[in-house]
C-alpha cells in the first residue's frame, strides 16, 4: 500500500469518486462560513472602510493561483520521472483553474485598488508578476491545446512547466528590481498578512480553506473528466480498428 497506487487510473477514479462529495460539501461550508463571516460579521477598517472585505476573495485566490502552479510543477515532475498518466492529466486539469484564480486575484485587486490607491492598475512588482504568471498559464494551456498526441503534449508541457517555473521565479525577482529602479520603494505594499488585525484573521483563514477546498474539488472533477475523455478516445480508437 503506497501513495503510488492511486496513479492507477481505476484506483484513482474509485478514490476520487468517493472523496468528491465530501470535498465539495466541505468547500461549500468553508466558503459560506468564511465569506459570510467576513462580509457581514467583521467591523469595517477605519481607513479602508468596507473595501477591506475584498481581502476574503483576493488573498485566497492569489494563494491558490501561485500554489496551483507549484502543484503543476510537482505533477509534471511525477509524470517525467514515474510516467503516471493521472499525474499528467491532473497538471492539465489544474492550469485553467490556476489561470482563473489569477484573473480573480487581479480583478479583485483592481476593484480594491481603484478607491484605495486611486488607480485600477499600477506597475507594482506584485501586480506585474501576477500578470506574468497569467501569461505563463496561457502559454502552458495553449501548448496543451496545440499538440495532437496526448503523450507528446504531456511531455512537452512538463518540460515547459519546469523551465517556466525557473523563469517565473526569475521574473518575480527581476520585477522587484525593476520597480525599485523606476520608482521609490513600494509604497503600495499588498502584504496584508503581516498587519491584518485579529478580527479579520479567522474568517480569512476559513475563506482560504474554502478556496483551497474549491481548488481540490474542481481539480478532482476536471481530472476525472480528463481520465474519462482519455478512455473515450481509447474506445473510439479501438472501434475504428475493429
Amino acid at each position: 500500500m503506497s501513495l503510488w497506487e492511486y496513479a492507477n487510473p481505476r484506483k484513482f477514479m474509485a478514490l476520487s469518486g468517493a472523496v468528491l462529495p465530501f470535498a465539495a460539501a466541505g468547500t461549500a461550508i468553508a466558503l459560506v462560513v468564511g465569506l459570510a463571516w467576513g462580509f457581514f460579521f467583521t467591523p469595517e477598517d477605519y481607513r479602508q472602510g468596507s473595501t477591506v472585505k475584498i481581502i476574503y476573495i483576493h488573498v485566497p485566490s492569489a494563494m491558490v493561483a501561485i500554489n496551483c502552479w507549484l502543484m503543476m510543477l510537482v505533477a509534471s515532475l511525477v509524470w517525467l520521472i514515474r510516467r503516471h498518466h493521472v499525474s499528467a492529466l491532473a497538471a492539465k486539469a489544474a492550469a485553467p483553474i490556476g489561470a482563473t484564480m489569477t484573473v480573480i486575484a487581479l480583478a479583485t485587486g483592481a476593484i480594491w485598488g481603484q478607491p484605495m490607491w486611486g488607480t485600477w492598475w499600477a506597475w507594482d512588482p506584485r501586480l506585474t508578476s501576477f500578470l506574468v504568471l497569467f501569461l505563463f498559464y496561457l502559454g502552458y494551456m495553449a501548448l496543451w491545446a496545440a499538440v495532437d498526441n496526448p503523450d507528446t503534449a504531456a511531455e512537452l508541457t512538463s518540460v515547459l512547466c519546469i523551465v517556466g517555473s525557473v523563469f517565473a521565479v526569475l521574473s518575480r525577482y527581476a520585477l522587484v528590481f525593476w520597480n525599485q529602479g523606476l520608482h521609490q520603494g513600494a509604497s503600495l505594499s499588498l502584504d496584508k498578512e503581516e498587519n491584518v488585525a485579529d478580527v479579520f484573521y479567522w474568517p480569512l483563514l476559513i475563506a482560504i480553506a474554502g478556496f483551497v477546498g474549491l481548488f481540490v474539488t474542481l481539480l478532482l472533477v476536471r481530472t476525472r473528466t480528463e481520465v474519462r475523455a482519455r478512455r473515450l478516445q481509447a474506445l473510439m480508437a479501438r472501434e475504428r480498428m475493429g
Binding site: F136, L143, T152, L160, A174
Partner: protein, 221 residues
Amino acid sequence: MMALIARDLALSVRAGGGFGLALAFFLIVVTLTPFAVGPESATLSTIAAGILWLGALLACLLSLDRILALDYEDGALELLATAPIPLEGVAAAKALAHWITTGLPLTLAAPAFGVLLNLPAPGYVWLTLSLAIGTPALSVIGTFGAALTVGLKRGGLLLSLIVLPLYVPTLIFGAEVARRGAEGQGLAGLSTPFALLGGITLATIALLPFASAAAIRINLR
C-alpha cells in the same frame, strides 16, 4: 558542431532571405514608433532605449521558428539526432547560429537606429553592450521555444506566446542597463543590472540547451 554552425549560416544567408528579415523588421519598428508617440525629440529620447530593446526582442522573435522548423520538415533534424554529436550540442549550435544571423546584426544596427530615436549620447555604448550581452540569451531561450513547438503545423503564434513570458527577465535587465546608460549613469550606476543580465545569459547558455534537446527528442519520437 562547427560544420553545423557554418551550414546554418550559409543556409540563412542564401536560402529564403531569413538573414535581413529581422533587421528590416527592427528598422520598421523604429520607424513606426515616432508615428505612434509623436515626433517630439524629448519624448523620443526618454523612450529610445526601451523601444530599441523591445524592437530587437520582437525582431529576434520573428525569426525563431526558422531555427528548427525547416530541418524538421526535410528530416535533417532526425539525422542530426542520430549524428555522433550530442543533441544538446546541436541545440547550442543552432542557438549560436541564430544569434550570429539575428542578434549580432541587431546589436550592430542598434546604435544607428538610436540616432533615429534621438537616443542621448551616453546611451550608445551601454545600449550596444547590453544588446551584445543580452541577445544571446534571447537566442537560447528562443531555441528552447522552437524546440517545444517544432512538431506543430502552425506553431508561429504559439511560439510567441510561450517565449515572450520567458523573455521577461532578460528584457527587464537589458532595458534597465540601456536606460540607465542613456540617463548618463556610469558603470557605478548600472553595474548591478549589467551583472544580472550577464548572469542570465550565462545561465541560459549553460542550462537551456539540455531542455531544448529534451524537447527535440520528445518531438522526434
